[in-house]
Symmetry: C2
Subunit: 404 residues, 2 copies
């Protein structure tokens, strides 16, 4: 195996959301118990933008961008200045901290693009990077791709209130032993844990005192459920000197088909990210950038309705899992649930394939998010409410069928 | 300077097309001779999609993709299967060699995205990569970013017919001494040289016999002028076993604002590229992929008219430069000219800034394409014909004004 073979073996993407169609499912029949279920297929690997459609006006904004022509097609690599001005002002208000549109913001092809650029700008051969477990699966892959070393930090997510959060002792130990970068998501993907004000303050203090660069993925921070509160690291008085915050309209706002994200924070890092973007993909598609006109600028009441719709789905799915005796944490924000499977007669990976084959339900295996969460499955419940409920009932029946 | 500082110093993008707006131009007044010119500003750093508008139907195809909804938003990372089927068939016909839509094609965010993925899939720490000089500026930057080593191969472009082309002796010497990858563009960017059938055959033979992976950027291969012929490396009977061809609709077809490109060739490399795309930006924007419906599928006569319009501009600009005694090769394809500046009283970099300040003309300095072409400037002449002619007249007057 060459160095490149190894590098790309670590990037295996067959279980990544949306890629399941490329799996070889022959051989599954030998272990199958019982027949197929009837019911609407549900793909919980990503949100359903037909059930929760894109922000009103987004397609019209695209069309307006197209009609602007060349100026909109060929923006600066960091994105069109006029759009950055508007978005920066709204992000400053949302996060409670000022933001320079000129030097502290870059528009990227999706939040995935933002994460790639942020880690590319801060990780090279030998860089130690603290990665929370479980967390978004690409974080670890990106660190390895850039030649860095993953230093795991455990996240508690099954507990009540302040029990949840990162292991701060592990985090400080990592920082003490030469970790230069911390990357994490809050709300956490896949568990829906929102880092508490205390945890965010502690991260700010520790990162500042050890000189650690922090990349915080706040993709789901707008989809916050009743009674929850959210703390923005960048607004902390002790926020670290090197800090990148990542957001985007792909999830809550259902603009995933536009591939738009933003990264904002330390100017020197944004400058590096733009240099990298220049060789990666030049810029987020010019006409698509125009759709950011609608972002953080939705019609009155639109976001409340979207949150309410998701909260109702969340509550019903969590009740169903719990009534069946399946452990699941209640997500505080976002649209992921991460139930834990009981012992089964097949491996979790095979069970996930059987779910798709027998029950027309696609979920993402927990092994994508941390080595230690192999026995969990992630569901993005941004789906048609009724279809999601029916699909979770099928998952529960499948669990009963395959229980060890 | 840290390892990351060095890595990003090598990615300086201030002179990259479209980024000139971020330059510090203070201090220019001290060397300025004479006043400002009147005239329509012309940005030769990229094509003018207002003068040469996007393929008919492209915006409508986007709208149709948006209306398809979730299925179009969340395609496989390598792109929507139905679109790949159509594009693969058209590319097979265009290049004269079969192509599997399932395993040999990936849709990317622009051809820049395709180049990034192709080099990322083939270059790691220590990989020796043959890079033609001059050639597209990102090629060298990408090799360095991935930790590879650039092995330069000279291109002759000022000569007549078969004088032009890569130095095959240098190429073989590079292959003999451990070079594992060759990347080049034909038509060459910035000179417009089309590699001859003989040169393509020689590259095929050499790459096959030394086991070298080849990445060939054919972005401009459709904009071929009267009397010229084009040879596709992938159709050569001795084409190398590891070969990626890159194309896209950003230039000739003016779909740059959609950020769409394709890479096609060896299935194992396409598979790697998809794994990399999964952590870089997931996929080309889903709705945008729908615009590929129009690609290689334009209305009858549309491409002929586009070629004729560009050929007329090319002929007039070349005549103007030559009448002023300025050396310039006639591009055989594409929309770049690469005239050589005479000795000036200011450096070529400062002259390029003065052109923008005094003459409202933006060009790309030759140093972006090779260390040895500092005294040339690149013009993308896909512009309004009259405005381009007037702007070149201003360039010529500026050259007179600053002649050493």
């Amino acid at each position: 195996m060459t160095a490149l073979d190894q590098k790309f073996a670590a990037l295996a993407a067959d279980n990544a959301p949306g890629q399941e169609v490329r799996q070889d499912m022959s051989g599954l029949d030998a272990v199958m118990k019982g027949g197929l279920f009837n019911g609407t297929p549900v793909d919980f690997s990503h949100g359903d933008v037909d059930a929760h459609p894109p922000t009103p006006g987004s397609a019209e904004a695209w069309q307006a961008g197209f009609e602007v022509g060349g100026q909109q097609a060929y923006t600066e690599y960091r994105g069109a200045a006029a759009i950055r001005e508007k978005v920066a002002a709204r992000l400053a208000e949302f996060t409670g901290h000022p933001l320079s549109a000129d030097s502290e913001l870059i528009i990227t092809p999706g939040t995935q693009g933002a994460l790639f650029l942020a880690l590319g700008a801060t990780v090279t051969n030998g860089t130690k990077v603290a990665v929370v477990e479980p967390d978004y699966f690409a974080n670890r892959k990106l660190v390895v791709f850039f030649g860095g070393e993953v230093v795991p930090v455990a996240l508690t997510y099954g507990g009540q209130g302040s029990d949840n959060g990162p292991d701060l002792a592990q985090l400080e130990a990592a920082f003490k032993s030469g970790t230069e970068v911390l990357v994490f998501s809050t709300p956490n993907n896949p568990t829906g844990v929102v880092y508490s004000a205390q945890d965010i303050a502690a991260i700010a203090r520790l990162a500042s005192s050890y000189g650690v660069t922090v990349i915080v993925d706040q993709l789901y921070s707008r989809l916050l459920y009743t009674g929850e509160s959210y703390t923005h690291l960048r607004a902390d008085p002790q926020a670290p000197g090197n800090l990148i915050t990542i957001m985007g309209p792909s999830k809550t706002e259902s603009l995933s088909g536009f591939r738009l994200g933003v990264a904002f924070g330390t100017a020197a890092l944004i400058e590096r990210m733009e240099r990298l973007q220049a060789i990666v993909s030049l810029r987020a598609a010019g006409y698509n950038q125009a759709a950011l006109e609608t972002w953080l600028n939705e019609p009155e009441g639109w976001m409340d309705a979207r949150i309410a719709a998701h909260q109702a789905i969340r509550d019903e799915l969590v009740s169903l899992f719990r009534a069946a005796g399946i452990e699941v944490a209640v997500p505080q924000a976002g649209s992921y649930v991460f139930p834990k499977l009981p012992d089964l007669s097949v491996s979790p990976e095979v069970f996930v394939q059987l779910l798709r084959r027998q029950a027309a339900v696609t979920v993402t295996p927990g092994s994508e998010f941390a080595p230690g969460t192999r026995d969990s499955i992630r569901l993005n419940f941004s789906q048609d409410h009724e279809a999601a409920v029916a699909a979770v009932k099928r998952i529960i029946e499948m669990i009963e069928r395959y229980k060890a």
